[in-house]
Symmetry: C2
Subunit: 253 residues, 2 copies
DNA sequence: CAGGTGCGTTGCATTAGTTGCAATGCTCGT
DNA sequence: ACGAGCATTGCAACTAATGCAACGCACCTG
């Protein structure tokens, strides 16, 4: 809606790929160098962009600080965290918490496995939306129209042979997940990693977040992992209860 | 430098304080509501701002994802992480990694204490710059002029009776730290928490990061913590070596 | 060491893009 | 059902962003 701001913000994902110099930024934005310079300067003043010693630009520190504050404003996270820790203490595996926002699902909290073999994932990283167990739960709860529209515009990368191959299969999976009230990902993202996930609901019953337990085959088989399902669901329900009991989406200050 | 972008970016820290509606944003920016609306819309399109169900705006998910990528581009972090984990395994206490950027010091990595009593801190949070041991190391290495200028414009909040009270005291402390090559914070931030820190240097000898071990009094006394100093310094030196050996600030793609 | 290339930077005239206003639409509370 | 409060839209006025061309500077190169 605002061209100038639009251009300036387009610089951020560009720099997320790696440092770039003025010329590169100008080219990618398709604007004159002087224009790019002014935009970069403004971003710099706000600390979103940093100029390293070789004069190239990269993302700045304040961005990290802002994201931090953004997460602290998510009250589900605050409420859920102790529950996640407890679950991790009980089963030892990696525990994730994820939310859906604007066509993306991303992890907002994580408790690391206590086993030596750990899976790769990072808080803030958008998850593989077509296969992750938490993603299925979050998308399954979307209103029909939105769900269809989203499933349509998604890509369905075949991470493994068990990845969800296309939109119809995905929608079927979502229906199943919605009905049973939990979800799994059995090697659909990485061949040797399985997950079980359960939804966290707000007072109105809508799914506000999802949590999962993940473990590699070498530690426990998929069957063994599934035996944790009741525990995961109980934890999720406990979080739901606490979340609904408190002020729902209230101001945090 | 660019008014429109400047205004748009000013919205982010504002929303970091908590959700706000259009009117509040317009007021704080001192612009007309329609202007604020357009700026918010642009931020929204880029996912930096999210509109929650009650129509108020808060920081968006992509901000978190961007910050994530920003951190992954910091190669000190990549290199240091395994060392931090190993140090944590050896001593059991909380280990922090911090960098200086644009008048701020912030934590970019953390390994949690294995003791039940943990200190509060979060990756991405700017640190108490006048008292934290890592901050002293990073600032001590700044060129004279910059150091004086910065020390001058800082606030010196008295978190505890042992906090650095003012600029002259701070500069003296920095001189001491620079000379001895390590730093401490003995209850200067929180009465019962002590830290020892050591600098990580690049190939040119400049301090590029600093790491620290922190523990509360109830777990170990300050004296006991100080016995860890050689270990902390050795770890920092190991990281320095690896960092200098590799491509210094090279492109990451 | 002179000349050249590639980059970032600056001042300025043009014009496109942003602004604030006023009017409209919408939602909620009474 | 009515009104208050907020978000939203279209539009004309004008400010502020744009691209150009020229300059400065550092680094190669012959």
């Amino acid at each position: 809606m605002s061209q100038t701001v639009d251009r300036a913000l387009s610089i951020l994902p560009l720099l997320a790929e790696g440092p770039a110099d003025l010329g590169q930024v100008a080219d990618r934005l398709d604007v004159h160098k002087s224009t790019a310079l002014r935009l970069l300067r403004t971003l710099h003043e706000h600390g979103l962009v940093y100029r390293q010693s070789d004069q190239r630009y990269r993302l700045g520190a304040r961005l990290i600080a802002l994201a931090q504050e953004a997460m602290e404003n998510l009250d589900i996270r605050e409420i859920a965290h102790p529950h996640l820790v407890r679950l991790n203490e009980q089963c030892g595996h990696t525990v994730h918490l994820a939310v859906y926002e604007e066509s993306e699902v991303l992890y907002i909290d994580k408790v690391e496995s206590r086993y030596p073999v750990r899976m790769y994932s990072r808080i803030g990283k958008p998850v593989a939306i077509t296969v992750a167990a938490v993603a299925k739960l979050l998308l399954a709860d979307l209103p029909e129209g939105e769900r269809r529209a989203l499933s349509d515009k998604l890509d369905y990368p075949m991470y493994t042979s068990r990845s969800t191959p296309n939109a119809p299969a995905f929608l079927r999976e979502l229906d199943k997940v919605r009905e049973q009230g939990w979800a799994t990902d059995l090697g659909g993202h990485e061949e040797s990693i399985n997950c079980v996930a359960a939804p966290i609901r707000g007072a109105d019953g809508r799914v506000v977040a999802a949590m999962s337990v993940s473990a590699p085959n070498v530690v426990v088989t998929a069957e063994e992992l599934l035996t944790l399902l009741p525990l995961v669901r109980r934890t999720a329900d406990a979080i739901s209860g606490e979340y609904s009991g408190r002020t729902p989406v209230k101001d945090s200050r």
